[in-house]
Amino acid sequence: MTIEMYYVTAAMLFAIGAYGAIAHRSAVRILISLELMFNAELLFLLAMASSIGALQGMILALFVIALTSSEIGVTVPIIVFMFRILGTTDVTRASKMKG
């Protein structure tokens, strides 16, 4: 087993997420695609950290996972409110929301 194999998986997962984040119009689908990219980044971070600093990489990964949970906790209610106000999750119509 080599670290490069993990890099390849992370790169492919990141590419799939990037495709979804750019191509979709729905805020929910964009968020899901961004989460795919997060999973790729986490795998990449830990694969790199296994060679240059396992402990620091582990601590950073724990922080990143906790903060991503917070990010979803903020973003999903915003999407729910957007759906309540506009009746859709289409990001091209998000400018019609009032503050």
């Binding site: 890099y7 119009r25 986490l42 990449f44 999407i79």
Partner: protein
């Protein structure tokens, strides 16, 4: 590591990678957002397995408990409340495929250019040492994370109460 263990590890890596990538494809291509959120859960589970294979058992457990167990489940239940949503932006689909491939290549090139590679080292990190590092050296980021999670809890209560008529 014995040869049989090495083969088993490679098989596990291949299986988990295929599940992660396959679920990722389902998440971006399926019509229903609920299935996409569930597929994200499968991707998260597979990535946790890959993290465990790297030697970070505690991070894998944390990823499963916090990310897949709480966050993705929260997302699935939220998505259930919404109706059918808009589809792809067809005009951007081709550009986004090209962009995704280029991003993947850049991602890989960054890894290759740093020169970090080779055979996976075995990792044995004592959890007590991690806890000591958190408290001694990383107390401020830890405080910020706790504050942000507390904010999310308050926000959840506000959202659950809804608007007053």
């Amino acid at each position: 590591m014995s040869p049989s263990n090495s083969v088993l590890e490679e098989f596990a890596y291949l299986a988990l990678s295929l599940i992660a990538l396959g679920s990722g494809l389902v998440a971006v291509s399926t019509e229903q957002a609920v299935y996409a959120a569930v597929a994200l859960g499968f991707t998260g589970t597979s990535v946790a397995g890959l993290i465990a294979l790297l030697g970070y058992g505690y991070v894998a457990a944390f990823h499963l408990l916090v990310y897949v167990g709480a966050t993705v489940t929260f997302m699935v239940f939220s998505v259930v409340m919404m109706r059918q949503e808009p589809r792809l932006m067809r005009s951007l689909a081709t550009v986004s495929v090209l962009n995704a491939v280029l991003l993947g290549l850049v991602f890989y090139m960054i890894a290759v250019s740093t020169g970090i590679g080779g055979v996976l080292p075995s990792i044995n990190i004592d959890l007590g040492r991690v806890a000591k590092e958190f408290i001694d050296d990383y107390w401020f980021p830890l405080l910020l994370v706790v504050a942000s999670l507390a904010t999310i809890m308050i926000e959840g209560i506000v959202v659950a109460r809804g608007e007053k008529k």
